[in-house]
Amino acid sequence: MDFAIFIKILIAAVAAGTPFVYAALGELVTEKSGVLNLGVEGMMLVGAITGFIAMAKTGSLLLAVGCGMTAGMLMAAIFGVLTLTLMANQVASGLALTIFGIGLSAFLGLKYTSIALPGIPELPIPLLSDIPVLGKLFFSYDILVYGSLALLAIVSWFLYKTRAGLILRGVGEAPKSAHALGYNVVRIRYIAVLFGGAMAGLGGVYLSVAYTPVWVEGMVAGRGWVSLALVVFATWRPLRVLFGAYLFGAITIAQFHIQGLGIDIPSQLLSMLPYLATILVLVVISRDLTAIRLNSPASLGITYHPENQ
């Protein structure tokens, strides 16, 4: 495989990995507050169709992003009411949210199948993008890709450098202690859940408006589940989420290149590769218990009852 193709695979991998970056970072913040929301797939789908409709009607990317994020937040709000206010089981509620999202997005998208949008332009950064090879590799993506990198910086900074981030992590580690210190655990978790929903919605918008600018029922195609796996894969560290997302994107893209180069591997096996890689990584990191214990929020998935303390 020559070098130019290798660079092209990397560039395509970044685009393919971007929806994971958004959704997984959102889920990471949610999980850091101690809430496990398995509804990412559903939230991404609803975000994707709402963003798509907004883009098709107005042509404004800003509005599409806004609508997609709001829709994701509304979905997350349903989950919040169920698990935080009504104290329902988080796993069951999350699964229900995904199933609901699949149906709702299909219904909303009834009139929008097979409409194609123009997509959004690449925004090469002046001067920097003219550098041979590196310029193309680092500085010639669309605005939503840069946005995902900005999000990574913000989330890392927020979680580890700010007081609010410390409180959020505290709520995820020991909600009782946080409560005793006077923090409103339920309210903080609501904010984290809503943030997760907004980011999942944005990941969906990236798929339906920028990556493949058409609406197809179920077009998120399991990316929500992969995002959930990526959070564990990254052992709850934001930078590793980015690495995992791009790795996953690269494997997806590489399988097509291998076929195009005429290398004789069954295409069905290649389609399976990204998922195989996820399982492998999960197995490998699960052996390193200290890494997991160190970063995984201690109260993850456990319902918190403020009255029973």
Partner: protein
């Protein structure tokens, strides 16, 4: 009281009889034609072309027919239920437009021996079941000529769905067409293992373009390959529908399916009581396969060559699968002067010379 009740009862029966008569009288006037679609109609693709055919049928026969379609019907038990419901609710002629409807169609046809069924792309007929399919490969050969003349890198990209004879036939015809004008042509094929997945189709198109293909074609159902070609500034040859509005610069032409004439003919034969179960395989001659208007960037002499070949295919003097044809390893499989029979074509399971890679098993 008893008497009154009896009266009401008989009045009801009488009313029901009258109603039944009226209904059956109106049913006799119009032929009710049902269509079963695999996907939403949308505005391009396999189902869109079938629906265009349905609209043409309505236009051609006017008051004599009444049509109805049911879209997004999954293959399998659900299809059987939908087809049975159509037959039960008075549809006399039913077109089922996806390969996986074959067995459900045959099963329902057995239950309704007085109704007529037409199944698209299947290979089993029955007393009241006919099949139909187009010679898509004829259009592919013509498109191949254009691609072979327009490529600068001598590399053509092909996004393909599943390795079945229909798709392989298309790849081979395209390759033969391209190599007839440019023997240096290589065709790269990427299988996406799905009929409709814009994400994968896009990724596959991008991979092909990155590897040097400068004309992209597809045997999948979305507009993603044409959109991607437009975005990356290469050429594309669309399939099923004219997709020039998705790639005004990219689309060189499109191999389009046209079922209107066939649907009209079948409905008319039912009205005339002359319908017979047949396995129809129609192509350029019958007007089922047409090329969309050719992009003005294609030189005049190429257009003239395509027109000449089209005429040859239509009058039977030219056959796309005419020897000498070599397979991938360079072995002669069709001798000069001979051509493949329909039976050979229907079971095609090898690549011709010029296609890269191997067929997934």
């Amino acid at each position: 009281m008893m008497l009154a009740k009896k009266h009401i009862f008989s009045v009801c029966i009488l009313a029901a009889c009258v109603l039944g008569l009226v209904l059956s009288a109106s049913a006799a006037e119009k032929l009710k034609v049902g269509f079963v679609y695999i996907s939403p109609i949308g505005d391009a693709g396999w189902t869109y072309q079938h629906n265009q055919g349905r609209l043409a049928l309505e236009k051609n026969l006017g008051d004599k027919v009444e049509t109805k379609y049911i879209e997004k019907v999954p293959e399998g038990p659900e299809a059987e239920r939908v087809i049975r419901n159509l037959a039960k609710s008075g549809y006399d002629l039913i077109f089922t437009t996806s390969f996986g409807y074959m067995n459900p169609t045959l099963k329902v046809a057995k239950m309704f021996p007085k109704k007529y069924f037409e199944h698209c792309t299947g290979y089993k007929t029955a007393k009241n079941v006919g099949t139909y399919m187009c010679r898509y490969y004829q259009g592919r050969y013509l498109a191949g000529i254009i691609a072979g003349k327009m490529t600068k890198s001598n590399t053509l990209g092909y996004v393909a769905a599943f390795p079945i004879p229909e798709v392989i036939r298309g790849i081979n015809a395209y390759t033969l067409g391209a190599r007839s004008v440019n023997p240096a042509i290589k065709v790269k094929v990427i299988w996406v293992n799905s009929w409709f997945d814009p994400g994968k189709e896009r990724e596959a198109s991008e991979a092909l373009i990155a590897q040097g293909a400068d004309v992209i074609t597809h045997h999948t159902d979305s507009t993603a390959p044409v959109l991607t070609a437009e975005e990356k500034g290469v050429y594309a040859i669309a399939y099923h529908s004219d997709m020039s509005k998705y790639g005004p610069k990219a689309q060189l032409t499109a191999v389009t399916h046209n079922y209107g004439k066939f649907y009209t003919k079948v409905a008319q034969s039912v009205l005339d009581h002359t319908w017979k179960p047949e396995a129809v395989w129609s192509g350029i001659k019958e007007g089922s396969i047409k090329l969309a208007p050719i992009n003005p960037v294609v030189p005049k002499d190429v257009v003239a060559l395509v027109e000449k070949t089209t005429k040859g295919i239509a009058d039977g003097t030219f056959k796309p699968f005419h020897g000498p044809i070599k397979n991938q390893s360079g072995k002669l499989i069709v001798a000069a002067g001979k051509s493949l029979t329909d039976k050979d074509l229907l079971g095609m399971n090898y690549y011709v010379e010029g296609v890269q890679g191997s067929i997934p098993k």
